[in-house]
Symmetry: C2
Subunit: 120 residues, 2 copies
């Protein structure tokens, strides 16, 4: 491991983003995955949005978009009822979360490697 091969003290570093597309339309990204995870944790779209400091409207649009792009819905939103309503995360969403997290893990490693070999 020589200075010729690595570059950990450079002022430059590599960054990037990854996401999953469905027919040229953004399906998931970091934010949407986190949103679903929060919904699963809290059982409420409104509470999840609040905790992420995201507007309820935007959160709803994100979920709605994903539900429409996927054959099976990822989050089932029911209004009215016992506590005013409930948001249920489906098994399909779990699959998406697993797939995205695998991608994200591999990507983080990729970025780290590329940042180290960056020759600037």
């Amino acid at each position: 491991m020589t200075d010729k091969e690595t570059n950990t003290n450079s002022k430059f570093n590599v960054e990037g983003r990854v996401w999953i597309n469905s027919e040229n339309c953004s399906f998931t990204g970091q934010g949407k995955i986190e949103l679903i995870e929060k919904i699963k944790e809290l059982g409420s779209l409104r509470k999840a949005a609040a905790e992420m400091k995201m507007s309820y409207r935007q959160a709803w649009q994100n979920i709605n978009k994903m539900n429409n792009l996927s054959e099976k819905p990822l989050v089932i939103l029911n209004r009215g009822g016992k506590n005013g309503g409930i948001a249920i995360v489906t098994e399909e969403a779990d699959n998406v979360i697993v797939a995205y997290n695998k991608l994200k893990t591999a990507f983080d490693i990729f970025i780290k490697q590329q940042s180290e070999i960056l020759n600037l």
Copy 2:
């Protein structure tokens, strides 16, 4: 190579972007690299911007930003003179282009691989 391992006919695919940062400030990305390459080809910032259908203002700002973030300027802009002015791409810029293109090549491969193993 079975259907369990690959996923080339899925309606989903992986996409992403990478760039090089300098102290939390975007240094280069695809667009800026292309801009520098065009300048090198045409010897003119204005012509390069026009060819990329980018406003001259934006192009100038991009180059100016990169020049300031780098110790040595990437593009030297001289006004006046024989043909009204000239834009010179430095050796430093060549190094940046090489570094970025290496990164981009590796990233394209990464994305292709991840798209193939995507399990959705």
